[in-house]
Point group: C2
Chain length 192, copies 2
Protein backbone atom coordinates (compact mmCIF):
# COMPACT_ATOMS: atom_id res chain seq x y z
CA UNK A 1 0.00 0.00 0.00
CA UNK A 2 1.13 3.53 -0.83
CA UNK A 3 0.38 6.63 1.23
CA UNK A 4 0.91 9.61 -1.02
CA UNK A 5 4.20 8.93 -2.79
CA UNK A 6 5.48 6.81 0.09
CA UNK A 7 5.38 3.15 0.91
CA UNK A 8 3.33 2.34 3.98
CA UNK A 9 6.40 1.46 6.07
CA UNK A 10 8.21 4.62 5.04
CA UNK A 11 5.18 6.68 6.08
CA UNK A 12 5.11 4.89 9.44
CA UNK A 13 8.73 5.93 9.99
CA UNK A 14 7.85 9.54 9.25
CA UNK A 15 5.00 9.33 11.74
CA UNK A 16 7.46 8.14 14.38
CA UNK A 17 9.88 10.97 13.59
CA UNK A 18 7.32 13.81 13.53
CA UNK A 19 4.70 12.67 16.02
CA UNK A 20 7.15 11.06 18.45
CA UNK A 21 5.58 7.61 18.31
CA UNK A 22 3.68 5.39 15.90
CA UNK A 23 0.22 6.54 16.86
CA UNK A 24 -2.52 4.48 15.19
CA UNK A 25 -4.49 7.71 14.69
CA UNK A 26 -1.77 9.25 12.54
CA UNK A 27 -1.37 6.05 10.53
CA UNK A 28 -5.14 5.92 9.93
CA UNK A 29 -5.03 9.63 9.18
CA UNK A 30 -2.41 9.07 6.50
CA UNK A 31 -4.67 6.63 4.66
CA UNK A 32 -7.57 9.08 5.04
CA UNK A 33 -5.66 12.06 3.67
CA UNK A 34 -4.37 9.96 0.79
CA UNK A 35 -7.94 8.83 -0.02
CA UNK A 36 -9.27 12.38 0.08
CA UNK A 37 -6.54 13.70 -2.22
CA UNK A 38 -7.24 10.93 -4.74
CA UNK A 39 -10.90 11.96 -4.85
CA UNK A 40 -10.25 15.68 -5.40
CA UNK A 41 -9.97 17.15 -8.89
CA UNK A 42 -6.26 17.14 -9.76
CA UNK A 43 -4.29 20.37 -9.44
CA UNK A 44 -6.66 22.35 -7.22
CA UNK A 45 -5.45 24.38 -4.23
CA UNK A 46 -6.98 22.76 -1.18
CA UNK A 47 -7.26 23.55 2.51
CA UNK A 48 -7.90 21.02 5.28
CA UNK A 49 -10.10 20.68 8.31
CA UNK A 50 -9.76 18.03 11.02
CA UNK A 51 -12.74 17.24 13.25
CA UNK A 52 -10.48 16.34 16.16
CA UNK A 53 -7.20 17.74 17.41
CA UNK A 54 -5.98 14.22 18.26
CA UNK A 55 -3.50 12.78 15.76
CA UNK A 56 -5.23 13.77 12.51
CA UNK A 57 -3.56 17.22 12.23
CA UNK A 58 -0.18 15.50 12.10
CA UNK A 59 -1.22 13.27 9.19
CA UNK A 60 -2.38 16.36 7.30
CA UNK A 61 0.86 18.19 8.08
CA UNK A 62 2.97 15.23 6.92
CA UNK A 63 1.16 14.70 3.63
CA UNK A 64 -0.09 18.09 2.43
CA UNK A 65 1.12 21.70 2.29
CA UNK A 66 -1.44 22.55 5.00
CA UNK A 67 -0.02 23.28 8.48
CA UNK A 68 -1.36 24.82 11.68
CA UNK A 69 1.01 27.76 11.32
CA UNK A 70 0.18 28.64 7.74
CA UNK A 71 -3.55 28.58 8.40
CA UNK A 72 -4.47 26.13 5.65
CA UNK A 73 -5.28 23.53 8.31
CA UNK A 74 -7.98 24.16 10.89
CA UNK A 75 -9.38 22.02 13.67
CA UNK A 76 -13.14 22.18 14.23
CA UNK A 77 -13.80 19.91 17.19
CA UNK A 78 -16.81 17.70 16.55
CA UNK A 79 -15.14 14.76 18.27
CA UNK A 80 -15.52 12.63 15.10
CA UNK A 81 -12.48 10.99 13.52
CA UNK A 82 -12.79 12.74 10.19
CA UNK A 83 -10.79 14.96 7.87
CA UNK A 84 -11.94 17.00 4.89
CA UNK A 85 -9.90 18.54 2.11
CA UNK A 86 -11.66 21.20 0.06
CA UNK A 87 -11.06 23.63 -2.77
CA UNK A 88 -10.06 26.84 -1.03
CA UNK A 89 -12.01 28.99 -3.51
CA UNK A 90 -15.27 27.05 -3.88
CA UNK A 91 -15.38 25.26 -0.52
CA UNK A 92 -16.26 21.99 -2.30
CA UNK A 93 -14.34 18.98 -1.10
CA UNK A 94 -14.18 15.40 0.12
CA UNK A 95 -14.63 14.22 3.69
CA UNK A 96 -13.30 10.91 5.00
CA UNK A 97 -14.15 9.27 8.30
CA UNK A 98 -13.11 6.05 9.97
CA UNK A 99 -16.31 4.03 9.81
CA UNK A 100 -16.99 1.94 12.91
CA UNK A 101 -19.49 -0.13 10.87
CA UNK A 102 -16.66 -1.42 8.66
CA UNK A 103 -14.41 -2.80 11.38
CA UNK A 104 -15.82 -6.31 11.82
CA UNK A 105 -12.77 -7.96 10.24
CA UNK A 106 -10.29 -5.70 11.98
CA UNK A 107 -10.57 -6.41 15.71
CA UNK A 108 -7.35 -4.65 16.73
CA UNK A 109 -8.30 -1.44 14.88
CA UNK A 110 -11.78 -1.69 16.35
CA UNK A 111 -10.48 -2.11 19.91
CA UNK A 112 -8.17 0.89 19.49
CA UNK A 113 -10.76 3.09 17.76
CA UNK A 114 -13.61 2.45 20.18
CA UNK A 115 -11.20 2.63 23.14
CA UNK A 116 -12.05 -0.88 24.23
CA UNK A 117 -8.40 -1.63 25.07
CA UNK A 118 -5.92 0.31 27.13
CA UNK A 119 -2.98 1.69 25.20
CA UNK A 120 -0.55 -0.68 26.91
CA UNK A 121 -2.61 -3.69 25.81
CA UNK A 122 -2.63 -2.73 22.13
CA UNK A 123 -0.55 -4.87 19.78
CA UNK A 124 1.17 -2.40 17.47
CA UNK A 125 2.38 -5.09 15.04
CA UNK A 126 -1.15 -6.42 14.68
CA UNK A 127 -2.58 -2.92 14.34
CA UNK A 128 -0.20 -2.04 11.52
CA UNK A 129 -0.92 -5.38 9.79
CA UNK A 130 -4.63 -4.64 9.94
CA UNK A 131 -4.15 -1.11 8.55
CA UNK A 132 -2.04 -2.54 5.73
CA UNK A 133 -4.71 -5.15 4.99
CA UNK A 134 -7.65 -2.75 5.36
CA UNK A 135 -6.29 0.06 3.18
CA UNK A 136 -9.14 2.38 2.29
CA UNK A 137 -11.78 -0.26 3.09
CA UNK A 138 -12.55 0.89 6.63
CA UNK A 139 -13.30 4.49 5.70
CA UNK A 140 -16.28 6.24 4.18
CA UNK A 141 -15.76 9.13 1.83
CA UNK A 142 -18.32 11.63 0.63
CA UNK A 143 -18.45 15.09 -0.95
CA UNK A 144 -18.96 18.08 1.34
CA UNK A 145 -19.43 21.78 0.97
CA UNK A 146 -17.86 24.04 3.60
CA UNK A 147 -20.32 26.42 5.26
CA UNK A 148 -20.14 30.12 4.37
CA UNK A 149 -19.58 30.93 8.06
CA UNK A 150 -16.55 28.66 8.21
CA UNK A 151 -15.05 30.08 4.99
CA UNK A 152 -15.79 33.64 6.12
CA UNK A 153 -14.01 33.03 9.42
CA UNK A 154 -10.88 31.96 7.53
CA UNK A 155 -10.84 35.03 5.29
CA UNK A 156 -10.57 37.51 8.14
CA UNK A 157 -7.78 39.96 7.44
CA UNK A 158 -4.88 40.30 9.81
CA UNK A 159 -5.73 43.09 12.22
CA UNK A 160 -3.50 46.10 12.97
CA UNK A 161 -0.96 45.69 15.74
CA UNK A 162 -1.27 47.65 18.98
CA UNK A 163 1.06 47.91 21.98
CA UNK A 164 -0.89 46.76 25.05
CA UNK A 165 -0.95 49.54 27.64
CA UNK A 166 -0.90 46.97 30.43
CA UNK A 167 1.90 44.53 29.46
CA UNK A 168 3.70 46.66 26.86
CA UNK A 169 3.70 43.90 24.26
CA UNK A 170 2.56 44.09 20.65
CA UNK A 171 -0.67 42.19 19.91
CA UNK A 172 -3.54 41.97 17.42
CA UNK A 173 -5.66 45.04 18.12
CA UNK A 174 -8.83 43.23 17.05
CA UNK A 175 -8.68 41.11 20.20
CA UNK A 176 -9.77 43.98 22.48
CA UNK A 177 -8.06 46.32 24.89
CA UNK A 178 -6.06 45.52 26.99
CA UNK A 179 -4.78 42.32 25.38
CA UNK A 180 -6.42 38.99 26.25
CA UNK A 181 -3.48 38.00 28.49
CA UNK A 182 -3.94 41.16 30.57
CA UNK A 183 -7.65 40.35 30.85
CA UNK A 184 -6.71 37.05 32.54
CA UNK A 185 -7.04 34.79 29.53
CA UNK A 186 -3.38 33.77 29.29
CA UNK A 187 -2.02 30.34 30.28
CA UNK A 188 0.34 31.54 33.02
CA UNK A 189 0.24 32.30 36.71
CA UNK A 190 0.66 36.06 36.78
CA UNK A 191 2.89 37.34 39.55
CA UNK A 192 2.49 40.87 40.90
CA UNK B 1 23.93 31.86 13.68
CA UNK B 2 22.61 28.41 14.61
CA UNK B 3 18.97 27.48 15.14
CA UNK B 4 18.95 24.28 17.13
CA UNK B 5 21.50 22.05 15.42
CA UNK B 6 20.99 23.78 12.07
CA UNK B 7 22.65 26.67 10.34
CA UNK B 8 20.35 29.64 9.84
CA UNK B 9 20.11 29.11 6.06
CA UNK B 10 19.40 25.43 6.46
CA UNK B 11 16.57 26.26 8.88
CA UNK B 12 15.17 28.78 6.39
CA UNK B 13 15.04 26.00 3.78
CA UNK B 14 13.12 23.78 6.19
CA UNK B 15 10.67 26.62 6.81
CA UNK B 16 10.09 26.89 3.07
CA UNK B 17 9.52 23.14 2.76
CA UNK B 18 7.16 22.73 5.73
CA UNK B 19 5.34 26.07 5.86
CA UNK B 20 5.17 26.55 2.09
CA UNK B 21 7.02 29.86 2.05
CA UNK B 22 9.71 31.69 3.99
CA UNK B 23 7.40 33.40 6.45
CA UNK B 24 9.23 35.92 8.67
CA UNK B 25 7.10 34.73 11.59
CA UNK B 26 8.40 31.17 11.34
CA UNK B 27 12.00 32.40 11.00
CA UNK B 28 11.57 34.61 14.09
CA UNK B 29 9.84 31.70 15.80
CA UNK B 30 12.85 29.48 15.15
CA UNK B 31 15.16 31.90 16.96
CA UNK B 32 12.62 32.15 19.80
CA UNK B 33 12.26 28.38 20.26
CA UNK B 34 16.03 27.98 20.15
CA UNK B 35 16.43 30.68 22.83
CA UNK B 36 13.80 29.10 25.06
CA UNK B 37 15.38 25.63 24.80
CA UNK B 38 18.80 27.04 25.74
CA UNK B 39 17.32 28.57 28.89
CA UNK B 40 15.57 25.41 30.08
CA UNK B 41 17.30 22.94 32.37
CA UNK B 42 18.89 20.30 30.11
CA UNK B 43 17.16 16.97 29.68
CA UNK B 44 13.68 17.88 30.90
CA UNK B 45 10.52 16.83 29.09
CA UNK B 46 8.87 20.02 27.90
CA UNK B 47 5.57 21.02 26.33
CA UNK B 48 4.94 24.18 24.32
CA UNK B 49 2.34 26.91 24.12
CA UNK B 50 2.08 29.52 21.37
CA UNK B 51 0.14 32.73 22.03
CA UNK B 52 -0.87 33.03 18.41
CA UNK B 53 -1.84 30.50 15.75
CA UNK B 54 0.03 32.47 13.09
CA UNK B 55 3.41 31.01 12.11
CA UNK B 56 4.75 30.19 15.60
CA UNK B 57 3.24 26.68 15.79
CA UNK B 58 5.26 25.70 12.72
CA UNK B 59 8.56 26.83 14.32
CA UNK B 60 7.73 24.70 17.37
CA UNK B 61 6.83 21.71 15.20
CA UNK B 62 10.06 22.02 13.20
CA UNK B 63 12.38 22.29 16.20
CA UNK B 64 10.84 20.29 19.04
CA UNK B 65 9.00 16.98 19.55
CA UNK B 66 5.82 19.00 20.24
CA UNK B 67 3.15 18.89 17.51
CA UNK B 68 -0.52 19.85 17.27
CA UNK B 69 -1.50 16.21 16.80
CA UNK B 70 0.41 14.79 19.76
CA UNK B 71 -1.00 17.40 22.12
CA UNK B 72 2.35 18.65 23.44
CA UNK B 73 1.79 21.93 21.60
CA UNK B 74 -1.19 24.13 22.38
CA UNK B 75 -2.28 27.51 21.07
CA UNK B 76 -3.75 29.96 23.60
CA UNK B 77 -4.70 33.02 21.58
CA UNK B 78 -3.61 36.19 23.37
CA UNK B 79 -2.61 37.80 20.07
CA UNK B 80 0.94 38.35 21.34
CA UNK B 81 3.89 37.00 19.37
CA UNK B 82 5.21 34.76 22.12
CA UNK B 83 6.06 31.13 22.76
CA UNK B 84 6.70 29.33 26.05
CA UNK B 85 8.32 25.97 26.66
CA UNK B 86 7.74 24.47 30.08
CA UNK B 87 8.47 21.38 32.13
CA UNK B 88 5.45 19.18 31.60
CA UNK B 89 5.45 17.99 35.22
CA UNK B 90 6.11 21.22 37.15
CA UNK B 91 4.71 23.78 34.68
CA UNK B 92 7.84 25.94 35.14
CA UNK B 93 9.32 27.25 31.92
CA UNK B 94 10.66 30.06 29.80
CA UNK B 95 8.63 32.49 27.69
CA UNK B 96 10.08 34.42 24.75
CA UNK B 97 8.42 37.31 22.92
CA UNK B 98 9.47 39.49 20.02
CA UNK B 99 10.02 42.83 21.74
CA UNK B 100 8.85 45.85 19.73
CA UNK B 101 11.00 48.07 21.97
CA UNK B 102 14.17 46.39 20.64
CA UNK B 103 13.57 46.95 16.92
CA UNK B 104 15.08 50.43 16.44
CA UNK B 105 18.05 49.09 14.47
CA UNK B 106 15.98 46.61 12.47
CA UNK B 107 13.58 48.65 10.34
CA UNK B 108 12.55 45.82 8.02
CA UNK B 109 11.68 43.50 10.92
CA UNK B 110 9.86 46.38 12.61
CA UNK B 111 7.83 47.17 9.48
CA UNK B 112 6.85 43.51 9.12
CA UNK B 113 6.11 42.95 12.81
CA UNK B 114 3.99 46.06 13.34
CA UNK B 115 2.30 45.52 9.95
CA UNK B 116 3.45 48.87 8.66
CA UNK B 117 4.21 47.43 5.21
CA UNK B 118 2.10 45.34 2.90
CA UNK B 119 3.41 41.83 2.33
CA UNK B 120 4.27 42.59 -1.30
CA UNK B 121 6.42 45.55 -0.24
CA UNK B 122 8.55 43.53 2.19
CA UNK B 123 12.14 42.85 1.19
CA UNK B 124 12.76 39.22 2.10
CA UNK B 125 16.53 39.45 1.61
CA UNK B 126 16.75 42.43 3.93
CA UNK B 127 14.44 40.76 6.47
CA UNK B 128 16.59 37.64 6.60
CA UNK B 129 19.76 39.74 6.88
CA UNK B 130 18.27 41.59 9.83
CA UNK B 131 17.21 38.36 11.54
CA UNK B 132 20.73 36.99 11.05
CA UNK B 133 22.24 40.17 12.49
CA UNK B 134 19.72 40.49 15.33
CA UNK B 135 19.94 36.91 16.57
CA UNK B 136 18.44 36.74 20.05
CA UNK B 137 18.81 40.51 20.57
CA UNK B 138 15.28 41.49 19.58
CA UNK B 139 13.55 39.12 21.99
CA UNK B 140 12.84 39.21 25.69
CA UNK B 141 12.89 36.01 27.69
CA UNK B 142 11.59 35.45 31.18
CA UNK B 143 10.58 32.57 33.42
CA UNK B 144 6.89 31.66 33.64
CA UNK B 145 4.74 29.24 35.56
CA UNK B 146 1.78 27.69 33.76
CA UNK B 147 -1.55 28.18 35.53
CA UNK B 148 -3.15 25.17 37.27
CA UNK B 149 -6.24 25.65 35.08
CA UNK B 150 -4.16 25.38 31.91
CA UNK B 151 -2.29 22.28 33.12
CA UNK B 152 -5.54 20.69 34.35
CA UNK B 153 -7.13 21.23 30.94
CA UNK B 154 -4.29 19.32 29.31
CA UNK B 155 -4.53 16.35 31.66
CA UNK B 156 -8.10 15.55 30.74
CA UNK B 157 -8.43 11.85 29.97
CA UNK B 158 -9.67 10.67 26.63
CA UNK B 159 -13.40 10.14 26.92
CA UNK B 160 -15.26 6.97 25.97
CA UNK B 161 -16.43 6.67 22.37
CA UNK B 162 -20.13 6.72 21.49
CA UNK B 163 -21.93 6.19 18.19
CA UNK B 164 -23.97 9.32 17.50
CA UNK B 165 -27.64 8.40 17.10
CA UNK B 166 -28.08 11.19 14.55
CA UNK B 167 -25.14 10.76 12.13
CA UNK B 168 -24.09 7.22 13.03
CA UNK B 169 -20.43 8.15 13.48
CA UNK B 170 -18.16 7.40 16.41
CA UNK B 171 -17.26 10.46 18.52
CA UNK B 172 -16.01 11.47 21.97
CA UNK B 173 -18.96 10.93 24.27
CA UNK B 174 -17.85 13.75 26.57
CA UNK B 175 -18.83 16.29 23.91
CA UNK B 176 -22.56 15.83 24.47
CA UNK B 177 -25.39 14.03 22.73
CA UNK B 178 -25.95 14.10 19.78
CA UNK B 179 -22.43 14.93 18.56
CA UNK B 180 -21.41 18.58 18.05
CA UNK B 181 -21.70 18.26 14.26
CA UNK B 182 -25.32 17.13 14.58
CA UNK B 183 -25.95 20.11 16.87
CA UNK B 184 -24.94 22.42 14.03
CA UNK B 185 -21.36 23.08 15.13
CA UNK B 186 -19.64 21.41 12.18
CA UNK B 187 -17.89 23.29 9.36
CA UNK B 188 -20.08 21.99 6.51
CA UNK B 189 -23.30 22.89 4.77
CA UNK B 190 -25.61 20.07 5.79
CA UNK B 191 -27.88 18.81 3.05
CA UNK B 192 -31.18 17.15 3.86
Amino acid sequence: MKIGTKDFDEFVKEVQAFHGNIAPGVVAGGIMVDLAIKHLPPGILFDAVCETGHCLPDAVQLLTPCTMGNGWLKVVETGRFAVALYDKYTGEGMRVFLDAAKLRDFPEIRAWFLREKRKEDQDMGMLLDEFRRAGGGIFTISPVRMSPAFLEGKKRKKSPIRICAACGEAYSASLGNPCPACRGEGPYVVEH
